[in-house]
Subunit: 215 residues, 2 copies
C-alpha cells in the first residue's frame, strides 16, 4: 500500500469510528485496527487523535468554503451580464453536492461543531466567518445590481445555512421519519428545488424567470 492510500484509509477509518462511537469514545488503537494500520503510523501522520480530528475538520471546511468561493470569484471576473441570483444558486448547489460526496464526514463535523471546544471556536472564527462573508458578498452584489428589492439581513444567511446543513446532520431522522433517502440524487434535487423557491422569494420577479448559465 502506498503512503497516500494508507493515510486515506486511516482518515476513512477515523470518520467511521467517530460516527459510531464519538470522538471521545474512539481510541487511536480502534482506528488503527479498523484501518489495518499500526498506531505508530497514525502518530507519524497526524501526531495524535486530536491532530487527526483537526486534519479532518480543516480539510472538510476548506472544500466546503471553496464551493462558495468559486462562485464569488466567477462573479468578480464576469462582465456583469450574468445574474448574481444564478451564482448564489450555484453556490448552494455546490455546497450540497460537496456535502453529499463527503456525507459521512459532513455528518460527523456538523455534529462536532455543536460542541464548545477551543478547536471549534477557532474554526468558527476562520472558516465559518469566511463562509458568512462569502454569502454576504453574493447578497450585497445582488442588491447593488438591483436583483433584490431589500438587502437581506443576517437571519437570511443563518436560515440558509441551517437549511443547507440540515440533511447532512440529520440523515437518520430523514430516513426514519420521512422515509426519504437523504443521500440519493432524487432527494438532493427535490430539496434543492424547495430551497431555491425560498431564496427566490427574496429576489425580484424579473430575475427568477431567466434561465441559468451552465457553469
Amino acid at each position: 500500500m502506498n503512503k497516500k492510500a494508507s493515510k486515506e484509509k486511516v482518515m476513512q477509518a477515523a470518520i467511521e469510528m467517530f460516527n459510531m462511537k464519538g470522538f471521545t469514545g474512539s481510541s487511536v488503537r480502534d482506528i488503527a485496527n479498523r484501518a489495518g494500520a499500526n498506531v505508530a503510523l497514525i502518530s507519524y501522520y497526524f501526531g495524535s487523535k486530536q491532530g487527526l480530528l483537526e486534519h479532518l475538520m480543516t480539510g472538510f471546511l476548506e472544500g466546503y468554503v471553496s464551493a462558495i468561493e468559486v462562485q464569488c470569484e466567477k462573479l468578480a471576473c464576469e462582465n456583469g451580464e450574468e445574474l448574481v441570483f444564478d451564482r448564489l444558486l450555484k453556490a448552494i448547489w455546490n455546497v450540497m453536492v460537496y456535502q453529499q460526496n463527503n456525507h459521512e464526514l459532513a455528518r460527523f463535523i456538523h455534529r462536532e461543531i455543536t460542541l464548545d471546544t477551543t478547536l471549534v471556536r477557532e474554526l468558527m472564527a476562520s472558516y465559518l466567518a469566511k463562509e458568512k462573508h462569502l454569502y454576504h458578498t453574493l447578497l450585497n452584489a445582488a442588491y447593488e445590481k438591483g436583483e433584490m428589492a431589500t438587502r437581506p439581513n443576517e437571519y437570511f444567511v443563518l436560515q440558509l445555512r441551517g437549511m443547507l446543513t440540515m440533511p447532512f446532520l440529520h440523515p437518520q431522522y430523514i430516513r426514519e421519519v420521512y422515509h426519504l433517502m437523504p443521500h440519493e440524487n432524487h432527494f438532493l434535487d427535490q430539496y434543492f428545488s424547495e430551497l431555491c423557491q425560498w431564496v427566490a422569494t427574496h429576489f425580484k420577479e424579473c430575475v427568477i424567470a431567466v434561465p441559468a448559465p451552465e457553469n
Copy 2:
C-alpha cells in the same frame, strides 16, 4: 431538600455535564458530585445513566410535541372562523419558546438525536413521527380550507423543522459568527418574524393580511 427538588437538581446537573463532556464522557459519579447528591439516589430515581438519559429525552419531547398539539386541538374545537395559518404560526412560536425555556436541554437533545442508537430510533418512531403528523394535520387543514394554493410536501415540513431547531442546536455558532444572542427575546422575535415570512410565501395573499387571535 425535598424529594422533587433533589430529583430536579440531578436532572439539571446531568444536562450540564452532558453538554460539557458528552453522554459517554460523563459518569454517574460526576453527575452526583455536581448535584450534591449521592450515586444511590440517582440509581433510585432513574435506574442508571441510560435511564436518566431516557427520562430527559422523553420529558423534553413530550413538551415539545404538545406545544404543537395544543394548536391542533384548538383548531378542532373552533367553529372554522379562525385561520389555520394563525394556528400554524402559534405552533411555531410555542415550539420556539418551549426550546428557549429549556435551551440547555434542547441543545443536548437535538445533538443526541443525530446519533444512531436504539433509543433515538424509538424516539423518532414515536415523538418525531407524531410531530410530523401534527404539522401535516395543520397544513392539510389549511389546504382544505383554501388558505393555500397547493398542498405543501414533506420537504416543507422538513425545512420548517430544520429552521425551528437550528438556533437551539447551534447557539454557539450564532454567537461567535453572527454576534447575535440566540437566547435573548430580541433574537427569538426576529428569527420568528423571518420564519413567518417564509411560511407566508406558501399561503394565499388574503390569508396573511388578517391579524392573529390572542391565544
